[in-house]
Symmetry: C2
Subunit: 746 residues, 2 copies
Amino acid sequence: MKKYGMWTNSGRSYTITNMHTPRPWFNFLWNDSFLMQIDQFGGGKSWHSSEKMPYVPHNNTGVASDLGSVTDNRLVFVKDNESNKYWAANRNFHNEKFELFQSEVNPGWTEITSIHNKIKCSLLLCVPEKDNVECWQIKVTNLSNKERELTIFPYSNSSFCQQAHNACQRVDWKDKVQGLLFENSKSSRPLKNSYFSSDIKPNAYETTDRRFRGMYGILSDPDAVQEGDLSSKGTNFEWQMIAAFQYNLKLKPNEEWTVNIVSGLAKSENSAQIAINNYFSPNFLKFELQKLKDKTQEQFNSFNIESDNENIDNLVNIWLKRQISLGQQWGRVYGRGFRDIMQDCAAFVGFDAQIAKKTILYALTKQFADGNTIRQWSPEWRHPYRDGAVWVPTTITAYIKETGDFSILDEKVDFFESDETASVLDHIRRGMDFLLLNLGENGLCLWGGGDWNDSYDAAGLAGKGESIWLSQACVYATNTFCELLMQLNLKEESAKYAKLANQMKDNLNKKAYDKDHFIGGINDKGERLGTYSAKEAQFFLNTQTWAVISETANNPNDLMNLVETKLKCDYGYKLVDTPCTSQNPDVGSVTYMVPGNCENAAVYCHGNAFKIVADCLLERSDEAFSSLKKILPENPLNPNSSVEPYAVTNQYLGPDNPHRKGEANGTWITGTAGWVYRAIVENILGITTDYNQLKVQPCLTKEWSKIKIHKVFKNEEYDILIERIGYKKYKKILKKLEKLEKSIKL
Amino acid sequence: MKKYGMWTNSGRSYTITNMHTPRPWFNFLWNDSFLMQIDQFGGGKSWHSSEKMPYVPHNNTGVASDLGSVTDNRLVFVKDNESNKYWAANRNFHNEKFELFQSEVNPGWTEITSIHNKIKCSLLLCVPEKDNVECWQIKVTNLSNKERELTIFPYSNSSFCQQAHNACQRVDWKDKVQGLLFENSKSSRPLKNSYFSSDIKPNAYETTDRRFRGMYGILSDPDAVQEGDLSSKGTNFEWQMIAAFQYNLKLKPNEEWTVNIVSGLAKSENSAQIAINNYFSPNFLKFELQKLKDKTQEQFNSFNIESDNENIDNLVNIWLKRQISLGQQWGRVYGRGFRDIMQDCAAFVGFDAQIAKKTILYALTKQFADGNTIRQWSPEWRHPYRDGAVWVPTTITAYIKETGDFSILDEKVDFFESDETASVLDHIRRGMDFLLLNLGENGLCLWGGGDWNDSYDAAGLAGKGESIWLSQACVYATNTFCELLMQLNLKEESAKYAKLANQMKDNLNKKAYDKDHFIGGINDKGERLGTYSAKEAQFFLNTQTWAVISETANNPNDLMNLVETKLKCDYGYKLVDTPCTSQNPDVGSVTYMVPGNCENAAVYCHGNAFKIVADCLLERSDEAFSSLKKILPENPLNPNSSVEPYAVTNQYLGPDNPHRKGEANGTWITGTAGWVYRAIVENILGITTDYNQLKVQPCLTKEWSKIKIHKVFKNEEYDILIERIGYKKYKKILKKLEKLEKSIKL
């Protein structure tokens, strides 16, 4: 399998050494309100999220897409004034033979370094802890043994032009902001202005692509760089504003030159000025990077493992945490899904419980007074999905088990679009009641606008259809809730809910079974999906794995054997088989998708993580581990998946896809991260927290003989060693332990 | 002044010979439902307009803008397989020395021809009379004296991908459509599919930019062209689908090879197939081009002039007609404005009255039962502008005067969002009543959401503000209506309306005057705009010119003298002076615009055409002609305006613009075309039609000594010669005529 880079800094970074990865490999950098998605060249979008709606002030124009082609909106051109040669130091458009060309992906920043013609140039990109800004640090070093005359042109076409061809928009040099100020007096956005500022005054600047790239120029060879001088003119009413600076340098041998640039958004020129003074204070960036390193170390310290699999170690210790952190804060970036954020939090509690609590409490304000939740906020998505309530008890109990903090249950939280406020415990109750008391003809949960599976979005819209997965998940959530009620000594209430869950379990086995497996659901017309008599989509993954997880299956191992037979491929398990090929408005979007895509029979990794959990619950340790390895980035049986080694993907396009089987459609922003993390930690390694204890119940693959685990639980540090030592040695140790126990008793 | 091309084919085409025009020079190609805006290289957007909303199925991705940079979405790469050299024949990305490189802009098609390495390649682009499709014809000729092995790659990135990264979207080769079919099963659009088809089966094809351009490639040097072979693979769930074909040719000396390609939209594969069979029938394109030529000739025949100014002749005879045709059919392309289309029709009746009638009757369905109209349809724009009704009598009487067809007044037309239907005459009445019976404190027309000047959109929202221009235009429209009523022998009604108009005239002179000029308006707060006591915007162009046009001014020449003093610059007259510099929510958008832009003191050419009309009404012939020359494309005092020689512009950014004074912000889609046409024909040449006669009352500049005019009026052909012959000769001719008259009487 072709390697494009390697772990560096003990797995805290991944250094891409072959920049031509199969598709752009991304890093996400963010704070509360600002987010960058950048590829290995530093190109890509930035978002600022307003209260109601995330929007994209910085577009990646000139770019086919963030998956389909490389972005190109942050460039540093270097020009050698003696030879008149120029090159894009962080992009190498013409694929020249650079002495060095690499991208170091870190948790919170990316640094691209190149050496060409004995000039070293690095571009470090970072989003600071606060404010709506991206920070650039450019360093240029003369590695030759003679003085060099260089011109450096940092360039950004990340659309400062909030609206193209707007008569109210202008850009000018402003001394106050030490750079270019882009003003739009008529913008409806709260932050009307943006800026591109430098801590060293440039010799010249440019504001429009017409003059930089040239009216008929190519960005790889900009007219202005070829000519060597920028116009230092502002502009207005422009189709494509850009920002570019020009620095004329003379560098002695080994001399290094550094410039800091910030590009951000502001309400006014004055507020921009205040922010900029902060960014350009001494060591600002150094402190910001240190904060990021500290955060990573803090999360590492809270839980880490050491096995003989470096990839898994680095994912668990650093990178899945990073991915989950993104999810719990930004949802899926394009929007903040209730179910998504709650699931991410269930994993996040394991290494950052206090932030998780805050997020959980905020998310609960998106629950209606009837117990259901909205599908998504920022922006709102109101299609009547019905699974939101499932994730309320499961996530909150995960938080309590990790922290022992029962007080969360007493917090008062508003309901969505309601004058009512209730305790968190009541929020859970309302959710359970919503699920358990709104049943269909077969005594199963109503499907409504859909469940975890977004794409069965029309099967239950008329209020008759019933979802099997939702019924199973409801049983699971209810049992979780009953357990909590017992902890609270509310035995009677616990028994009441347990009875409802048991009834549901019975109904599932009586009404939702076809020959040897659980069906997928029953739509409004009474058609049973996921049966052998169905024309297609006869066998669903999730209703088998969740039959195990929810303990509703009578023959769980048989179900999982069928999963192996019917759904397995080289890179995971299909979500359904066979895929739908004919559009069915009585089922939903899934039937419109090209076979192999998303819910229509992709290897949907989130569902594959459920499968690993189910395997472990049945002590199918080898199946669990082999399933894990199938979906992790570097599966030799799926060499063209194109996933970053430091991230997991939402899905691999399924074997039925007519053109692109095995390819990942995107990474980072996926619920897969949280569930894969938990499957490894809680199920394979078996490190779980209960209301009063830390449990260790591994379901370890034979491939792993030894693994060290470090965990902080209720402020105590635990070092755990799991070692496969054989029965004899185990017996010996047991004896020793017995002796030790006796001696203590004495 | 730098020349970039020349008139060819007797002004029926303009051939761009220096392809690097100051900005892309456009051609518009269209039929009822499909429109292309292409630059000299053939790049640019295509639209399909659905019933309710025009949308853009074909985006120009990879392109900074249609003004700010060149579009690049239709390319023909040629590769010489002996030398391995390749070039984009219609784009010449690397600015190589081509033997020939030109673009012939025709009414309805554009043909780009290049010769490089002794290979001639032409690309002809055309929208046929019907259907949602663009037709390409590519011809390749071997001009060398040896056989050549070539590969030809036509490429389109004009986003067949109706939605990026859509799981429901795929593209595959289909024999039925002789090319690539792009299907989106979940599209909400009526035409879900698009295709890219060829009458010669290509040797290979490509469907994604990832493989054509290359994941990290540059479109000027696509990986696939360099490698020489396309993959012939379909794709789905793609960020950027493209269409490219590969033809392997061997051409003998002087051998010519031709391929026809069509790229369009269809409901289904079958309907695509039917359409394609039509396009690929023998001589289809030849017939389509002949139809376009015939239409141009027909419009030429209906009215044409011959002066010593070739530019003006070609504009009047061919190109302004083309521009007005676009306007009356597509409005301003981004939407169909009531006022825009009605004004365009007032000019259009002069050379295509029957189509004008259809358009007028349809537009009247956008008039409310209260007499006002919506601002725009497709898409609807409902801001409560109040000037729609002004254009109803003025345009309808223009139609009647041209044709003598009074029957239009009896046509029954629905009102917008109303069950009521009424005759066209009643539509006019309702409009007049709306204007004349809804007056403010000063007895002037209410300003409401605005008038012709879109950007005073907040001055009268509270229902108190009064518009001076609207009041003047109302007097003009009412007088026009009174004249019509007299023709209909409705004397009493005519007198009633005339009285109202006179009252309004009195009020204007009493209440809307400041020292020596008409003010701009009075806003809801009672603030008088356009007075000397105002902080800025003290003097408006339109309220002086329309004081003349509406005959409400007592001292019209003084007003026009002031216009010369206060508003003139090298390239026309500012719409207002001084521009607004501080944002005022009690006035509207105009105050938010950068000074010099649009209504905030640009040289707004539509308003300049009003000024020419006013000049002529006062027999200020030299002022009229010099004003006309200032705003026409090739004004040597404004050499960087960047306007196509065959089109007029909406505006030149005003002398107060901080960065871009004199630049045109866009061309073609502007009301300037209709008014400049009428100003030349009706006012400067003085060729007008009245209810019962053709009038010739020129207001000719001294610069013109002789001009021939041909006009068809009520099916009679008139050849008119206007010649400046001096008083003596004139007397002689008069005598001759008297004699002739006597002899006839005898």
